[in-house]
Amino acid sequence: MDWGTILSNLVHDTIVFSTALIFAALGGMYSERSGVVNIALEGMMIIGAFTGAVVTFFAQDAFGSGAPWVGFAAAIVAGAIFALPHAVASITFKADQVVSGVALNFLAAGLSVYLTKIIFHGAGQTTTLSHVFGKWHIPLLADIPYVGHALFEGYPTSFIAFALVALSWYVLFKTPFGLRLRAVGEHPRAADTVGINVKRMRYTAVMISGALAAMGGATIALTTTSNFSHNTVSGQGFIALAALIFGKWHPAGAMGAALFFGVAQAIKSLVQIFGLTQYVPTGFIYMLPYILTILVLAGVVGRSSAPAALGKPYETGSR
């Protein structure tokens, strides 16, 4: 195989692996930009994956190959609803946002498998789906040598994810909603004094966050695993959180960081296929992305500045 093909495959796989991370990191961005820490991305992804898989499973008969879309839509709704307790606890009841997030992670992990076992007669995972997202082949563009396979042949969710990156950038930096969202995360009292409803903004942001993270989870279930089990998400929510911080709470930055983690995953199996493991132990290849992340953070990126009011509950009339 020539280098062009290898590279083309690498880019292609990178996008596959990054998609879920992009969704979730974007989700985290909305919440954290509004000042609410979201360590619950993992749990929100789990709920997304679970809902996506289960709804798709039951929609298969009625909708056929349209079923994954139904499942995906259901996951979005489920994610937004699932985020609600986090919002209630951390916004209305001023709970510690980290604690509330951890609670949600536990809840998602337990509830999803518990329900799976009830729905699927004791099985720890959903039945394998017969209809999942197929790869799209963008006409003409996908036929360009190398580049076509790399960029224009992929799951619909990948295209949605990249579109959402652009959309989020626009929303955040060009619209009144975005300006207000950022104001609420930086200086909620200032926002309050100009008549912005801080709590409502934060509720909205946290629910958007849940919806997006759930899209990430559903993406895994409906593209790569074709089912849901306890380890469908397995830590990717935390990686997404890292990507968000790595990307400095910026949509493009988060996307870049997500792609970086994706590339590392893709390299893992490529290296084995090309038999490079005889030169480098697999263990080291597995470690590489994480080591690189730390090195990059320590060397280049340095101190990243979180939204100023991140993690601080806002009380009207407090100082």
Binding site: K174, P176, L179, A190, T193, V194, G317
Partner: protein, 504 residues
């Protein structure tokens, strides 16, 4: 406002307060720390809800349930602590919440134009595209004022607007206020500075412990009367002190340079000396290197050149702990950020710099009995009002927090005491107390370095005054013979002097 009462747990912040403000006037609210001024204004602005009482605007009763409602009623407020988003531009801050739109997105060009127009109309100079973090405090305040004007406010509330400004900026602000009144606005001004009230206000209402004491026209009163009403007793404004008896040099700063936060030199070869038995005041406009100077002296920032000697010993770039142990104490300018661990008890805060001394610590274990005893003594001696030494520092009022810091620092019996903005935001009673303590230190034969943005304070308390401008001392004058005008000129870089003599 009629019969306004507001209770907080354990305190009645506003007790049946009546306040009448006439259209087109500048009305001052005067009162000690914690008298309830901010609370009253926060009620008027809809941030708090009163427990009792009603508010009438133009004779009509209104319910101000949120700042939104206040905005609609034409009430705007410039808060004691600015309500600006540091990472946003001036324009973004001004239009926030009322953004001009172009389709779905903010029409930022139109917003900038509107800000420019407003700024021209009221003579409030701002740079619409600058980030808040990059502009001076004075300009930030103008942004705050523009924010209220942009929302069409007719009644403007200023909560301690001059506390953070330089004399020049205060002058500008007074002019702005006059302009605003001319445009038909009504202003409520909260301040501790009697001089300002006398200079700009038409009427003044005095509040003490949540109750209105009196409401008078400014032309019928004088500063002494106001002060007496405010604290309930006679107050002296002049710090009375004996002539200084300077002895040997304690601190000598030689040609020190240091980098500021923005990556350019904040100190440009600064040199001066402080002697035992004198108070050297450092006057200057905010941002001319005062903060950096303090940080370099106390070891919190690295000097890139020059030398600092404390009692002849070189302390340049030594660790804060070494410098502190060498005999330097420091009352920090930001008491919440540097001065206290707010979630520590008062007792723990009193040994923040000395917990490792053998008298508080044996083999690495803290001797809490000794620490508590120490704290009790300090709190008693310095009259810090706290329910208990085990109360968290957070629960104390600003004035008492400051007293506690001063107790801690003075008790270290330092050869040099650096006092940075020691009375910022405090009422006259507290100010008097603190000034006395500084002079007492001097009279004990210690050196005191006072760094303050308040010219009054510098002139009253210091023996000699060094003026800092762009990271250099541009002149040193005798406190008794100088005038505010002379200092003001030097502070703006207008006149360079050496050792009191002119070199023009």
């Amino acid at each position: 406002m009629r019969g306004i009462t507001k209770r907080f747990p354990g305190i009645v912040a506003n007790d049946n307060i009546n306040l009448v403000v006439k259209k087109g006037e500048i009305h001052a609210l005067l009162g000690e720390n914690g008298a309830g001024k901010s609370t009253l204004m926060n009620i008027l602005f809809g941030l708090y809800q009163p427990d009792e009482g009603e508010i009438l605007i133009n004779g009509k009763p209104v319910h101000i349930t949120s700042p939104n409602v206040a905005n609609e009623l034409g009430i705007g407020m410039v808060h004691q602590h600015f309500m600006l988003v540091e990472t946003f531009t001036v324009t973004e801050n001004i239009v926030l919440g009322n953004e001009p739109k172009n389709g779905l997105q903010i029409d930022i060009r139109r917003a900038v134009k509107e800000v420019e127009e407003l700024s021209r109309k009221y003579g409030l100079k701002v740079d619409p595209t600058a980030k808040i973090a990059d502009i001076s405090v004075g300009m930030q305040q103008r942004v705050e004022i523009l924010k209220t004007l942009y929302r069409g406010a007719d009644i403007l509330i200023f909560d301690e607007p001059t506390a953070v400004l330089t004399p020049q900026e205060i002058q500008e602000l007074i002019e702005i206020m006059h302009n605003l009144v001319k445009e038909g606005k009504t202003i409520i001004l909260i301040t501790h500075k009697l001089k300002e009230i006398m200079a700009v206000c038409d009427a003044v209402t005095i509040i003490r412990r949540g109750k209105v004491i009196d409401s008078v026209a400014v032309k019928d009163t004088n500063p002494d009367e106001l002060a007496a009403k405010m604290v309930g007793r006679e107050v002296t404004f002049k710090v009375d002190k004996k002539p200084p008896q300077p002895k040997e040099v304690i601190l000598s700063v030689e040609n020190v340079t240091a980098m500021g936060n923005r990556g350019v030199n904040a100190l440009n070869g600064i040199s001066f000396e402080v002697r035992a038995g004198e108070i050297l005041g450092i006057a200057g406009v905010d941002g001319n290197g005062q903060s950096e100077l303090i940080e370099v002296l106390t070891g919190l920032r690295k000097a890139s050149g020059g030398r600092i000697l404390l009692k002849g010993q070189d302390i340049t770039n030594r660790l804060p702990r070494e410098i502190s142990e060498a005999g330097l104490s420091h009352i920090p300018e930001d008491r919440h950020k540097r001065g206290l661990v707010l979630d520590f008890t008062m007792s723990e805060n009193m040994v923040l710099e000395t917990y490792f001394h053998p008298r508080f610590n044996k083999n690495g274990f803290l001797d809490y009995a000794a620490i508590d005893k120490h704290a009790s003594r300090l709190i008693e001696e310095f009259d810090v009002r706290t329910p208990s030494i085990h109360t968290k520092a957070r629960a104390l009022s600003g004035g008492n927090q400051q007293k506690a810091i001063i107790a801690r620092e003075v008790d270290k019996d330092p050869d040099l005491l650096i006092a940075a903005q020691p009375t910022r935001g405090l009422d006259v009673g507290a100010i008097e107390f603190i000034h006395k303590r500084l002079v007492e230190q001097r009279d004990k034969g210690k050196a005191v370095l006072l760094i303050s943005l308040e010219l009054d304070e510098v002139i009253n308390v210091s023996d000699r005054i060094a003026v800092i401008y762009e990271g250099q001392i541009v002149g040193i004058v005798d406190a008794k013979s100088t005038t505010e005008q002379e200092l003001g000129l030097m502070m703006s870089g207008g006149k360079r002097m050496q050792g009191g003599g002119s070199d023009e």
